[in-house]
């Protein structure tokens, strides 16, 4: 942040946000996002918890895009290759995520099919779009208010981990169904790329700095 901005934000100012909310940056302070302690702007590490201090992780935006891209790249093979290899006495079957869900639905398990589709298709794709939208919204004017975008960020952060469910299901089935000749289930290559996709997308969400949402112009409804 430029030095003259720092000086203009003296105590008692209304702050650069132009509202009653004064941010740590307005006061020439840098906040620790881990332990909430504030330090003078040029402090590099938080003496309380040891975290690296950055007033805004603006350079991390590139990291967000990088993690997001690898996350999306890993998600493609995760849908093309089989997740599960099921072998019973008569049939050998490889099933992808979507084929697996369709199969369960055909057997009447609509609830579970829905859980799988939501966790493995809807949530990952929703996350890709949401993170990209949030990152873009920092650079250009968007319709969604700051409050809404912050809520979206919290939802993405909370829900992203749940996509891991399908990987666990594969692990459970592969260890459980090992009944020699009668039936066996083994993990397919998609299990690994899917897990990677979930991990990379989580890293993208974690690299995003929600404070930057609030630096943007205020919305009329707020």
């Amino acid at each position: 942040m430029p030095l003259d901005d720092l000086e203009s934000a003296g105590p008692g100012d209304k702050g650069m946000t132009g509202t009653d909310v004064v941010t740590a940056r307005d006061r020439g302070l840098v906040a620790c996002t881990r332990c909430t302690r504030v330090w003078p702007m040029d402090t590099e590490t938080c003496a309380r918890c040891g975290s690296t201090l950055r007033s805004r992780r603006d350079r991390h935006l590139q990291r967000v895009w990088a993690w997001l891209s690898v996350g999306i790249v890993c998600y493609i093979p995760a849908n093309l290759y089989p997740m599960l290899k099921t072998r019973t006495l008569f049939v050998e079957q490889d099933s992808t995520i979507i084929a697996g869900a369709v199969e369960i639905a055909q057997h009447g398990g609509y609830g579970i099919a829905l859980v799988i589709l939501v966790a493995s298709v809807l949530i990952p794709i929703g996350k890709f779009i949401s993170i990209a939208y949030l990152a873009l919204s920092l650079k250009r004017q968007v319709k969604m208010s700051r409050h809404r975008r912050h809520q979206l960020y919290e939802v993405v952060e909370f829900i992203g981990r749940w996509s891991m469910i399908d990987v666990f299901v594969v692990a459970i089935l592969s260890s459980l169904v090992q009944l020699s000749a009668i039936a066996s289930i083994n993990p397919g290559p998609a299990a690994i790329t899917f897990a990677l996709s979930v991990i990379f997308t989580m890293l993208a969400a974690l690299s995003f700095d929600p404070r930057m949402i609030w630096d943007g112009p205020e919305d009329r409804q707020e």
Partner: protein
């Protein structure tokens, strides 16, 4: 998930007269407040984004330690007892979490094996152990152990990567997924995992991070 309801806006915008050690910055939106500790059981939330900043609980440290120790004990049982049992045509197999972890051990899937073990067993246990290490000396009125700040920061960094609860739902999905291939029952570890999820949730919700950080800070401890 979405911003918790505002109880009472106990935190007030930072006044210039008190020192920075009394200030608290919202980690989500950078708003600066004077840290005013609310009554026990109440929460001080950020007035802009509703993030909970301070939430003191009576006897919280002791309770958190009790929960953390419970997590470690339950996890031992939950790892080695079977969580699902399967019966097909007179053959039976029972799988423990330990088996599920080993499911990927063959070939290039080892990485996945390690990841599953870390996410559902190692990270939850490690977090519990770190929290005990951090809080134990504080409950008996001693100075924190060496590296306590580092330990607590690690416990917090690991939080999104602790996925025991997702594994429990994964068990339920797996059970339905193979219900027409074989007869499946829940084993004792399933219930242990179920209670583990509850205890981990209690451990995290009864922990006021700000109180702990303040107790670890030599400057504000007193």
């Amino acid at each position: 998930m979405i911003g918790p309801q505002l109880n009472e806006p106990v935190a007030t915008t930072a006044a210039p007269e008190d020192g920075p050690e009394e200030w608290i910055a919202c980690p989500q939106c950078d708003a600066l407040f004077t840290a005013t500790v609310p009554a026990l059981g109440e929460r001080a939330c950020c007035t802009r984004c509703q993030t909970v900043l301070i939430a003191p609980r009576r006897g919280a440290f002791l309770r958190v330690i009790a929960f953390a120790i419970t997590v470690m004990i339950l996890m031992i049982g939950a790892t080695f007892f079977p969580f699902l049992q399967v019966r097909v045509a007179g053959m039976r197999n029972a799988a423990s979490v330990f088996d599920a972890v080993l499911a990927f051990v063959d070939g290039p899937m080892v990485a996945l094996s390690v990841a599953v073990a870390a996410l559902i067993v190692l990270i939850p246990v490690m977090r519990a152990a770190l929290v005990v290490y951090v809080l134990f000396p504080l409950t008996i009125g001693r100075a924190p152990y060496r590296g306590a700040a580092w330990a607590f920061r690690l416990a917090e960094v690991l939080r999104p990567w602790s996925m025991a609860e997702i594994f429990v739902i994964g068990c339920a999905v797996a059970l339905v997924k193979i219900s027409d291939l074989a007869h499946v029952d829940y084993g004792p570890a399933f219930w242990m995992f179920g209670s583990l999820v509850v205890v981990i949730g209690l451990q995290d919700s009864s922990m006021c991070r700000w109180t702990i950080w303040k107790a670890l800070d030599p400057e504000t401890r007193a």
